[in-house]
Amino acid sequence: MTRDSKPDLLKVEGLKAYYQMNYYGVEREVRAVDGISMNIKRGEVYGIAGESSSGKTSFIKVLAAAIRPPLKVVEGTVKYEFKNGPIEVTTASKAQVEDVRWKHLSYIMQGSMSVLNPVRRIGRTFKDFAQRPLGLTGAAFEARVVSHLARLKLPPEVLKAYPHELSGGMRQRVTIGLATVCHPEFIIADEPTTALDVVVQKEVLSLIRDIQKEMDSSVVFVTHDMSVHANIADRVGIIYAGRLVEEGPTRQMFFTPRHPYTAHLVASLPRIGDTTQRPALEGRPPNLADPPQGCRFHPRCPLAVDKCRQEVPPLETVDVDHRTACWRWQDVKPLVGSAHPAGVMA
């Protein structure tokens, strides 16, 4: 893989971010991110999967340097190596963060309708977002935006339109345009295609992929839909209850998963041409204010033994670039009858 030849752009080490609340003298702590370490290379698409309330949104909030109370970074470091110098977002001042935002570190948000201001024309929104970081004014700025929109296959007329006049797919392309107009080095995409139908979804995904390749940016792509990861990510990391439970190259994650949760996620994907009964994972994600002891997946895990109930499994390397946090990773088999050829291979 070409992964090794490129330098790390992002280094996360032992990150712990908790929601700390204190209402009327009652203290409450929700451990949304509980000890995550990972590196992301330049020019890489890293997929993050996890169900709702697994802490993935809190994690990317920290990555995006949008740490506001009650969310607090308790421990660990998040360090970017941008071209204009390194930045440590957990300790950076507001001015430092403002300096890299949009220009180096950018964010494609979920729900294009609620991101775009409904009473402003798209052109005005572009001005609000990009004029200052780009440092251009008037015609030069307009030309830059129009040429960027052309790359996204959007006509210049959209600048005159209001958000409600555009279709869902076009709006999503506009938000991608906003996030990429300054040619950022690092893009965080939070479920950018969840609300779109299959045809438009594929279009938007290939657009993100093309833009990323062209600018050689890194992308962190967050979604719970594993079939999206299969097609866009170079590496996939699975977050469960605030911890990274497995990460590895996309192909290995699908064909030889080493964590029972990943194996389940892959197996539960339905597929055209196959009507065998799919297993559904019982139970619910743990409450992060009071997570279970030991491995946090053990109450729902078919492989759980006593050790899993008491001791937290470390993230061990099982293959090149492939790490998993499971005491019994050697016993993890792709589930039989899975949505995937892996079921046959095993």
Partner: protein
Amino acid sequence: MTTLLDVRNVSKHFTMGGIFGRKTVNAVMDASFSLSAEKPEIFTIIGESGSGKTTLARMVLGLEDPSEGEILFQGQKVSRHASKAERLAFMSKVQPVFQNPFEAFNPLKKIERYLESTARQFLHTKDRAAIDRVMDEALQKVGLSLKEVRGRFPHEMSGGQLQRCAIARALIPNPPLLITDEPVSMVDASLRMSIVNLLKSLRDDLKVSVIYITHDLATAYYISNRLIIMQRGRIVEMGDARTVLDNPQHPYSKLLKASVLSTDDAGAGKLATDPGMVQAANGLVGEAGKLVMRPDGREVRVYG
């Protein structure tokens, strides 16, 4: 064979804009299908956003009157202007389940309140024990119990559990027909299968017919008996789910199938769609054509 639901040549137009610059949007054009009363099935409506699938469902639910054509449920015309008693009788037989369970429930009320009011409405009783029994029965059907749900607020449940509660509520009057509008699109992938499997068991064990509206072809293939594919208000292909999805005939159906993200070559990064396919599908928008029966039992819209 008696029909449960008969949709006959139904169209729906919406008028947009004021006196000047008035525009008509044809949300649904000439849709016909019927469901049999004897053989419960999962009938799927597939289409992109704006294809008219939700409008069709709203008409079946009697929330919207068709501009042309009529909808008969058990021989009775579905109408928005029925009397309250008729409307209640109809509602006890056709029940909806909506897309986002977090929006369907009032966050300030306990979940049981929602179930309770449905039970009271349709059982015409104030007897607490009877209401509790009905609620528990309905929750048992979806794999929950009143003991688990009692006293809990929507935020205390996971999305999958909440969607199951919504289905349990719909099951309280024992309806022969459920209409589910994208019931899994807001639910996590890992919980999606539990909802889809539940719909399947409702059909197989409780003999409930389900109209399943979705844009997800994979789950449609997995559970449905028959399906229709809609493009901009028109049905373009209709027939047995396996026959249609294994080998779609209409250009739009082909495009839909080609757009489903496959995990077969995970990591290969194949994302390109054949532009010829998109053109073929979009070129047909607005043309009337007509549905023609094929030898394998499906109907495909042909043009010219």
